[in-house]
Every structure is written in C-alpha cells, then in structure tokens.
C-alpha cells in the first residue's frame, strides 16, 4: 500500500443558494445559503474503509457527491491520486471517472429495468472504450464473480426484476468494479436491504478493501460503521466533529455529539442497557447554522464561551475532535 492517500479532500465547501422568489428579490432580502458542507477535510488510503457517519442533513451525502464530482464544490479541493478533480471540465473528468466509482443506496433503482445484467455491467466498458468484444465478456464475467455472483453465467442474462435486492446491489457493485477503480464510494449500500442480507454485501466490501480498494462508506448506522470501518468520521451540520480509528471513536467518544449519538444507538443485547442521552429537538436546518460552535444550542455542556468560538479538529486522546471543552 502506497503512502500517498487515494483520496484527499481539503476544506471542501458545498453551498446551495435558496431561491428568494420575486418578492424576496424585490425586497432585496439577503440571499440565504444552505451550507451543506462547510469546510471538511478527509483522506482515504488504498486498502482502507473510512465511514462518514451522521444524521440526515449533516452533509455526508453531499460530500460523497462532491467526491464523485456529481456537483461542483464552491471551495476546497478533491484529489484523487494526487490530482484535484474539483476544477476539471466534464471532458477532462472522463478518464478520472474510471478511478472512482459509486454505489448508491437503492438497489431497486440503480439498474435500468430494460437492461440485462450483462448489458449493465458491460456498459462502463463501452462508454470508456475499453477492450474488444471478447475482452469485455471476460471482464464482465470477472466483475460479477468478484461481486459474489457466481457462477457468472447464471446471472448474465437475467433482468433486474428477476433478482433480489441483495443481488441487484451486487450487480451495481460489479458494474463499478468492471472499470477496476481505485476508490469506491458506497452511499448507504445496505440500508434498503434486509438484515440477513446486509452482512453479505458488507463482507464483500470488506473483501474488496483487503484487495486494495479504498472505500468511503456513507452511513447513518453507527453499528455497521463500527463493525467494518478502519476509521470513522462523525459529521454534524456540514462539519466533521470527531474522527479517528473506529474502535477508538466509538469506545472513547470525546465530542458531546458523538457521545450522545453513541448512547442512543440501540444495542442488540437486551442486558446492555444504558441511559440514552437524548438530545432535545432536532438537528437545525443547515440554512441557519448557529454562531460559534454549531452544536452548542443542543450541547449538554455548552455555554456562552461556545457561542464565540468555531472549534477545529484538535488531537485528543488518540484521535481528533472539534470541541473547546476538551
């Protein structure tokens, strides 16, 4: 495994202006902005699975979209193998798209219902003009096997509606693998699958990781992240509030938000009862981000000092957290 990270994101910012409407424009109302991602940095190395964890509205999906250049960030850089893809044109981006692939949450929507499995998996090769016809058939077969659909012959001519959710997700993964990417972004890869099937897909991702693939997994499920990730990054309102090795962040959470989050995740063992630290209210809208530390209104230990300072990630007990109280 080389030392240079596969993916390096620096100070990423993604904003969406809220439309003011005619009345608002006439009244010269100040344009409000949704700061979906407000300055985050992260790295993913080859052979590493990094989990980006958070509740809805925290910006994790937007981060994934920025990494895949499905949108153009307002600021910051996204370096894949050392090359910043943020400012590239669509045309210049095309060859880079081979290096990074994404798997989406909904396996029932990810595949064109008219396309057989072989057509779906070969399409990336056709788009990038890779290989001859015989080559392509071979690559498709390999990709399917690698995704756990074995023997591949059994699946080549099937249509999506003949497959289960788990199988469809594997086809989507195969379609990503066929280009032999270095980085895989998995956006909630198992949240729409039955529990009995999830481990299979996650084990597949784990196997790919051990084979050298770098994986950025977006999930709201801390339990899954703990089980499979090397490192966890906890996001809140567009920022990373805590990050570090998975076991450490979960075993010794330092940021009050992480502590609260971990305390409310239900455990599988009915004997394992703990007092859940339920925060009041709900995550505020990313349009109205609180001044200073964005978590302070809901923070159990927040005070006036927290309103003044916007904390950055600082080292604390083996990993990093953004809180001035540490």
């Amino acid at each position: 495994m080389s030392d240079a990270p596969l993916l390096e994101v620096r100070d990423l910012q993604v904003h969406y202006p809220l439309p003011r409407g005619l009345a608002g424009t006439l009244a010269r109302r100040e344009e409000r902005v949704v700061r979906a991602v407000d300055g985050i940095s992260l790295t993913v190395a080859a052979g590493e699975l990094v989990a980006l964890v958070g509740e809805s509205g925290c910006g994790k999906t937007t981060t994934a979209q920025a990494v895949m250049r499905m949108l153009v960030p307002q600021a910051g850089s996204v370096e894949i193998d050392g090359r910043d893809i943020a400012p590239l044109s669509e045309r210049a981006l095309r060859p880079v798209r081979r290096e990074a692939q994404i798997v989406f949450q909904d396996p029932y929507e990810s595949l064109d219902p008219r396309y057989r499995v072989r057509d779906t998996v070969v399409e990336p090769l056709v788009i990038h003009r890779i290989g001859s016809r015989e080559d392509r058939t071979e690559r498709v077969r390999e990709a399917l096997e690698r995704a756990g659909l074995s023997p591949a012959e059994l699946y080549l001519d099937r249509f999506p509606h003949e497959l289960s959710g788990g199988q469809r997700q594997r086809v989507a993964i195969a379609a990503s693998l066929v280009l032999e990417p270095k980085l895989l972004v998995a956006d909630e890869p198992v949240s729409m699958l039955d529990v009995s099937v999830r481990a299979g897909i996650l084990d597949l991702l784990d196997g790919l990781r051990r084979g050298g693939l770098g994986i950025l997994m977006i999930t709201h499920d801390l339990s899954t992240a703990t089980q499979y990730a090397d490192r966890i990054m906890v996001m809140y309102l567009g920022r990373i509030v805590e990050e570090g090795p998975a076991r450490e962040v979960v075993g010794n959470p330092r940021h009050p938000y992480t502590q609260a989050l971990i305390s409310v995740v239900p455990r599988r063992d009915p004997h394992d009862r703990r007092q859940p630290q339920i925060l009041q209210g709900e995550t505020p809208n990313p349009v109205d981000i609180p001044a200073g530390c964005r978590f302070h209104p809901r923070c159990p230990i927040g005070d006036d000092g927290c309103r003044a300072v916007d904390p950055h990630l600082e080292p604390t007990q083996g990993h990093r957290a953004a809180c001035i109280k540490l």
Binding site: D203, R268, P270
Partner: protein, 327 residues
Amino acid sequence: MSGAPVLEVQDLHVWFDLGQGRELHPVQGAGITLDRGERMGLVGESGCGKTTVSLALMGLLPPNASVAGRVLLDGEDILAGGEETLRPHRWNDIAMVFQGAMNAFNPVKRIGDQICEAMELHAVARGRAAETRCGELLELVGIRAERARRFPHEFSGGMRQRAAIAMALACNPRVLLADEPTTALDVMVQAQILQLLQQISDDLGLAIVLITHDLPIVAQTCQTASVMYAGRIVEVGPTVALHDAPRHPYTRMLFAATPDLAGTAGVVSIPGAPPRLDRELAGCPFAPRCDSTFATCTERLPRLLPVGDDHLAACHLAAGHLAGRPA
C-alpha cells in the same frame, strides 16, 4: 403484566386472491398473546407477513383478502362477525400507527383538525371537548398544544410521527400497533420516539405491538418478542430469552446477522431467500437456509411448542432437545 391478556390472537390466517385460481398465503396460523401494558416486538424481514398481521387485526385488508382465526380482545372474539364486529373496536380499542405515518397526514388540513376528526368519527368527543382532548394528546406525545393549529409541513419528521401517535391514542385504545414507527427517522429522533412509546405504555397501561425488522430496538424497548418467518411465528418469548438462548435457528442467525456497536464478533449473513407464499411447502419453511437441519426438517412442519418459561419455538431441533432425543 398480570391478569388475563388484553389481546389474544389465535390461528390467524390471511389469504390474498391473485386471480386465475392462484392464492397468496402471507399469514399462516399466527398467534399473539399480549398482556395489559406489555410491549411486544413482532420481528421479521420483508415479506414475512408482520404488516399483514397488523392490517388483519385492524380489518384494513384489500377486498381480495380472506381472513380466518380468532382475535380475542379482553376475551371477546372481535373477528367472529368480520367487519361488523371489528368496526366498533377499530381505533376505539385497537389503534395503529402505520408505516410512514408521518407522511400520511392530509397536507391541507391542520394537524389538530385531523386528530379531532378521529375523535368525532368514533364518537369519542366533538367540538370544544375534542379540541381540548386534542391539546392533551399532543402534550402527551411531547408537542406543545398550540401547535395543533399548524399544518403538517410545518412539523419535522419526528414531530409528525409523534402527531401520528397522538392520533392513534385519540380514542384511548387498549392496544397500539406500531408498524415500523422509527424506520425513516434519525437515530436521535428514533430514541425520542421509542422513549415516548415506553412512557405511554408504562403510564397508560397501553399494550404495544412494535412491528419492525430492527432487532436492537426490540431488544431495548420490548419485554417480549415474536419472530416471524414466511407467515408463521417461529419463536416467541421474553426478549432476554431470545437473545441469551434462542431456540430457533432463524432467531439465532438473525441476531448474528445484526451488527452491534458493542459487538466484537463479526456479523454473518443468512444465505438464500425466504420461500414463496403462493404454494404450500413441505416441511419447515426455513429448512433451505437453516444450518442445523436433519431429516425431519424437510418432511414435517414444526409446531410452535413450549421450550422454556413463556418461551415457544417452532423447530424440530428445539422440540427434540426437550424430549431428550439427541440432535
């Protein structure tokens, strides 16, 4: 949890007529026993029939459905006369929070009006009295009473779910069926809702059936759990018993397939897929995926038999252990 059970479901069957002589059998002889104030988790994966069971208890099945069985509400069989005997109890005694209830509000009517409507339809209260009670219900679920005048889109997802619970409580039911009440919610909001359900069950003596695929929330909030597979209850008992000593391989494998924050062991998926429900199968429906089968498993359907204190399992292996036969 003493006295006679508030709800007893026996031999519940549901069929769907698919036309051309074909029939789906999504619920095959399910049974539930629920005491006053008890919280039971009805656990299973997609297609196991758990939602169909709840709809059958509410009498909200589509016209191509047929139902068989006994539904004893405080001893009285309310299913005996079909819709006629069910209707008086619907919402008044058994209420439901549907899957995605937070999205089921009428967007052009105020939340308060919709809750009052439930009360008026079931002749519980009307006019001023209904409004007052509506305010009380909202406070009960943690929403300030004056917010009754708001529209659904002004509520967050979590608040709408609370309002849906308030609506279910409008007629002071004895039993609440909650179908995946926290599935689309963030984990923090989920914790709030689960805490609310525990609270109303403890304070009001309300019996709750929590229908879900999520084992951990059952482990944390329910005293008992029923595991459903292919239309049948395969194991039922105290949640701790199901966790510490599961007697049905599916229960055991389901726990093993669930990632845990504290868990150190890896998770294992269950190979295969659930069986089709449009034809009768020989033997145990779980046999093709089970890791502990033997000859009887493909020949005979296992019956739900006691394997411990208030603990039943439908498994030849479990039954064999009891009888002292070697596995």
